[in-house]
């Protein structure tokens, strides 16, 4: 059973003359422990794909299966619970609550799930220190740098032990050094914790950390490249592609 399976997924915005097809019958299978980057020119539908997989938006056609269950048919409350337990989100603008400190921000998903505050806090500070934020737990977001804020956000995404981490342009608001740190942190989530990471980005160097890149154009998958094989394997795959020419 694939972690994420996308079948004939379509999303159309508006109707009539203003109709915009953001996704056009997309099919995908993403296995557990894969680090997948979604790339493509702006307006290609890459964010829409992420939103639909994350259950943040409803498709107009097709379905999304998370660990075998179809989320496009779930009620809002079930979907919310699924997001809380199985997914972690990392946003471009970090989206930390300004009035909570780093530990509280990190512990949010656990507290939302009704877990006792002291347990939640312990888990939160564990994740903060894994992301090299020891001693920053009591800082509020405005006292942290962009890179630090994003690492708090990654800690928050991981604290509830999710299956999938969804990251929407996680480095879009950061300089290249902080971007590398974030990419390394995401890489570790896959390598050390065997989670699945789906990341939308337009930065080639960040995308290169992934195991697989999906290229979208005009709402369709135009290429799906595995990066993590040995040199020989990669060459073989490339050769297959060349033959399709």
């Amino acid at each position: 059973m694939a972690t994420i399976e996308v079948k004939n997924l379509s999303k159309v915005y508006g109707s009539g003359e203003t109709k915009v097809t953001a996704l056009d019958s997309v099919n995908l299978i993403i296995e557990q422990g894969q680090f997948v980057a979604v790339m493509g020119p702006s307006g290609c539908g890459k964010s829409t794909l992420l939103h639909l997989i994350g259950g943040l938006d409803r498709p107009t056609g097709g379905s999304v299966f998370i660990e075998g269950s179809d989320i496009s048919k779930m009620s809002d409350n079930t979907l919310t619970e699924l997001r809380r337990r199985k997914m972690g989100f990392v946003f471009q603008f970090f989206n930390l609550i300004p009035v909570l400190d780093a530990i509280e921000n990190t512990a949010l998903p656990l507290i939302l799930d009704g877990i006792k505050p002291d347990i939640a806090r312990t888990k939160a500070s564990e994740w903060l220190s894994r992301n090299k934020l020891d001693g920053r737990g009591n800082h509020r977001p405005d006292e942290l740098s962009g890179g630090q804020q994003q690492r708090v956000a990654i800690s928050r995404a991981m604290v509830s032990d999710p299956v999938i981490i969804l990251a929407d342009e996680p480095t879009g608001n950061l300089d290249s050094r902080s971007s590398d740190e974030i990419a390394v942190a995401l890489r570790k989530i896959v390598t050390d914790w065997k989670r699945t990471v789906l990341m939308v980005t337009h930065d080639p160097r960040i995308a290169a950390y992934a195991d697989r890149i999906i290229f979208l154009k005009d709402g369709k998958v135009v290429d799906d490249t595995l990066l993590n094989g040995s040199n020989g394997e990669n060459a073989k795959r490339l050769k297959e592609k060349v033959e399709s020419l």
């Binding site: 080639p204 290169a208 290429d223 490249t225 490339l238």
Partner: protein, 145 residues
């Protein structure tokens, strides 16, 4: 270099293999000149560019597929370098890391260039093919491959 008069060779202890080279004043001048020179690589003759341009003329080959394949290859290479770079220790292997950064960034530049081409592929297809006189100097594809 001895012939060019840039260095002199002296074999003081008589052994053939182990002698000492000394730089001559002309040689020193030449070295300094080398340091002073900026290293701007000439725009290398890009084989991919040539394939692409030809594919536009040929109905058999799809230009956008060419881009996709080239991009996949570049990303695979970039991924390999990124992985290698991660195994290095920034405390004492910084020199190697910087060299890898160069390769990575060149690859990145190529990828961005591909994106640029992809986004303007339709336009360039509509324009008349470049005249032979305008073609960048380069050997025919058969010799290049």
């Amino acid at each position: 270099m001895v012939d060019s008069g840039l260095v002199t060779f002296s074999n003081a202890n008589g052994q053939q293999s182990k002698g000492e080279y000394a730089i001559t004043p002309t040689g020193h001048d030449e070295l300094m000149n080398w340091f002073r020179m900026s290293n701007i690589e000439e725009p290398h003759q890009d084989p991919f560019y040539l394939k692409l341009m030809l594919s536009l003329e040929l109905d058999e080959v799809d230009a956008s597929r060419l881009i996709v394949i080239q991009r996949a290859a570049l990303y695979q290479e970039l991924h390999r370098i990124t992985e290698q770079r991660q195994t290095l220790d920034p405390q004492n292997q910084l020199a190697q890391m910087l060299l890898m950064d160069k390769s990575a960034m060149h690859l990145e530049a190529d990828l961005r260039w591909l994106d640029m081409i992809e986004s303007r592929l339709d336009e360039v297809q509509r324009q008349p093919a470049p005249k032979p006189a305008m073609r960048p100097r380069g050997r025919p594809p058969s010799q290049n491959a």
